[in-house]
Symmetry: C2
Subunit: 409 residues, 2 copies
């Protein structure tokens, strides 16, 4: 048969991570790899009550076709939840925030369009954008987020060809970023927002982790500072449960109708049953009681991971950050280490992590890795970090021997 593939299919590849991580599904492995929320936080009884209620009160409507925009009370609840003035008519319910990335890509990216991303950036976004064949360009970033001068320079049109147009948008994840765990400071947000507005550069702001702060809420979203210049993506995956695939986007009137048309074409609408379930769960300010329990759990586990790293990596040139929320910690191992090569050796010792290199739109730093502190318990984190340190010390010893060995002739 002539299964001739579209050119864009060449841009779809098995997720590098997914392939690497298959090995980590072996029983007995403590995984610090996946971005899986702790299932202990899923409010199962509240969901059971909501299902029963929705099916009893509104069963027929909850099982029928529904509006592409989403369930009106849920759109209202999203608007009410956000810290700026949001018209529910600007809220589109999506099948997870991953779908928001797909819709944004479809509507805004032509083949060759420059799309600006952080260094490193969320791999799932690169995968969502990929089929629309953008040219993703890394913006230099430090501990506070993207560096404004580089953002402005890379936003500009550079010539006459399509690939040299002004960048279509910058994709930013300001709170407890995936993969680095870093948070954009208030000063940097103000500067990025002003610079993007001045340059006419749209911002796609992704905020799946913003509610998972440990000591204080992060600064205001970028979108709150210039709603007409931003598309905001949010999710119920981290505050309720990811298995429902329920997210949302907020878009200005200039772009909302196209995102809605794209949404209609991809799945008609997000399952209305789960929308009504979540709407029922969220009544009576449920999230205000529930989310603090998630924060407290994840904070204890972050503390345990940082303490274990300090203890176990003592004397080694290992750098790691101190995330103020979210799910991930970012580390950089000593010179000479390649975390892709290290992973199978760590798995031999029953611990898994995610190598950092695939998160870079361009050349990745092979010494980096991402550690999730949310899925494993405190005891498991202690065991896993000790195993990781042991693996690393062995690898460093091997490297030392290799350096001492005579060069092959």
């Amino acid at each position: 048969m002539n299964w001739k593939l579209a050119a864009r299919a060449a841009k779809m590849n098995p997720s590098v991570l997914r392939e690497i991580l298959k090995v980590t599904e072996r029983p007995g492995i403590i995984s610090l790899a996946g971005g899986l929320p702790s299932p202990k936080t899923f409010p199962i009884q509240a969901f059971a009550d909501a299902c029963a209620e929705v099916l009893h009160n509104d069963g027929q409507a909850a099982l029928q076709y529904a509006a592409s925009e989403g369930y009106a009370p849920l759109r209202q609840a999203v608007a009410d939840m956000l810290p700026w003035n949001v018209d529910p008519a600007q809220v589109l319910i999506t099948t997870g925030s991953q779908q928001g990335l797909d819709l944004v890509a479809k509507v805004l990216i032509d083949p060759g369009s420059r799309v600006l991303v952080e260094t490193p950036t969320y791999l799932g976004a690169l995968q969502a954008f990929g089929p629309m064949e953008p040219n993703p360009v890394s913006v230099a970033s430090d501990d506070e987020g993207v560096i404004v001068e580089d953002l402005v320079a890379k936003a500009r049109a550079t010539g006459g060809r399509a690939s040299e147009d002004a960048a279509r948008f910058v994709y930013l994840l300001p709170n407890f970023q995936n993969p680095t765990g870093r948070t954009m400071t208030e000063a940097r947000r103000a500067a990025v927002s002003a610079a993007a507005a001045a340059a006419g550069l749209p911002i796609v702001e992704d905020n799946p982790y913003g509610e998972l702060w440990f000591d204080e809420a992060p600064p205001l979203p970028l979108t709150a500072r210039n709603p007409e210049g931003c598309i905001y993506l949010g999710s119920f995956s981290k505050v309720l449960a990811p298995g429902l695939r329920l997210g949302f986007l907020v878009a200005p009137k200039a772009i909302f109708p196209k995102l809605l048309q794209a949404k209609q074409a991809v799945d008609l609408h997000t399952p209305i049953f789960t929308q009504r379930m979540v709407s029922a769960v969220m009544k009576d300010n449920f999230l205000e009681r529930h989310v603090p329990t998630i924060r407290a759990l994840y904070k204890r586990q972050r503390d345990a991971m940082m303490a274990a790293l300090k203890r176990e990596m003592a004397g080694l040139d290992v750098k790691f950050n101190a995330p103020k929320g979210g799910m991930f910690l970012w580390a950089r191992l000593p010179e000479g280490i390649d975390t892709v090569a290290l992973l199978p050796k760590a798995v031999e010792r029953n611990v898994a992590f995610v190598p950092g290199a695939p998160f870079y739109a361009d050349q990745g730093d092979p010494r980096t890795l991402r550690l999730s502190f949310v899925t494993a318990s405190v005891e498991e984190i202690d065991t896993a970090i000790a195993a990781l340190a042991l693996t690393l010390r062995e690898e460093l010893a091997l490297l030392g021997e290799r350096k001492l060995a005579p060069e092959p002739v």
Copy 2:
């Protein structure tokens, strides 16, 4: 802000139908327009039991991230359900079969690619394919489906440019087609299957209505005749409930991995909670008891609609078919009538239908319309068809007067 849209966004338009049908949502209107399954058929209690069971037995897994391929027992159930030898590894669970169309388009359509469709065809497929910028080409069709000679002629490459490549695939809906309600005969299936295989033309077979037969099951699917040359799309929307957005596709090994990669990028996976719900509902051969009740209801309503049409349209040149299953009946009104112009007048008389023209990839027949016999009750169908006939007679009278009136000078 520089919200520069991708070129493909110009191919996304508000659904013509959706805009037309907004007017039909007025209270008091009997709608024969939408393709909404009768909510009387939704097995609400079975869903309530399944939700409780899934959350009680597997709550954490049912709410966690899950595999992009879908829930293994559901993939197995789909494979078992289909009348040819299907490996569950070839089954991909989708967020409604509409998502299957989106994935197919992403993986197989380049801008300008010829995609063959029936005359007329399912509008939602044209909308799903649209953003990938195909050149949809209508294949001449009669009461038995596409005409083989025209299919073969239009499948062939015609020149050197991309737009003149061999057609990428033909999209066919052989059972109780949307919009016409027609069914491809056994002889036509055999001929189409052989011709497509000989031409190396892939078939995308859409079968949302196949289980809704009234007197006898339709002939074997095209995919069963040549699984390596076909992608098969199915849905739980018409046998259980559309509001869960649960469908599936079956694809040969040559193309499955790319469809899976596209799926990962668009929503990571279909909600696992609803997959487990449906899997629980389907245990103990539930569908074998449930689907016959839907068939019986829809058959009664089809009979009522055909009887009402015969009675109310007597003496008028109105042609309509006798669908052997599914949800829709197709009619053609007398010379001079434009159903788009007729619709608002019908709505004035509290009845709505869908004009046929938007279902054609090229020039539509303005005299056609689609009538759904599944949502309205027998009594409502009687009232609605009487109102439609009255509207039509008035319109014909007006046309007659216009013909008698002197030409404007």
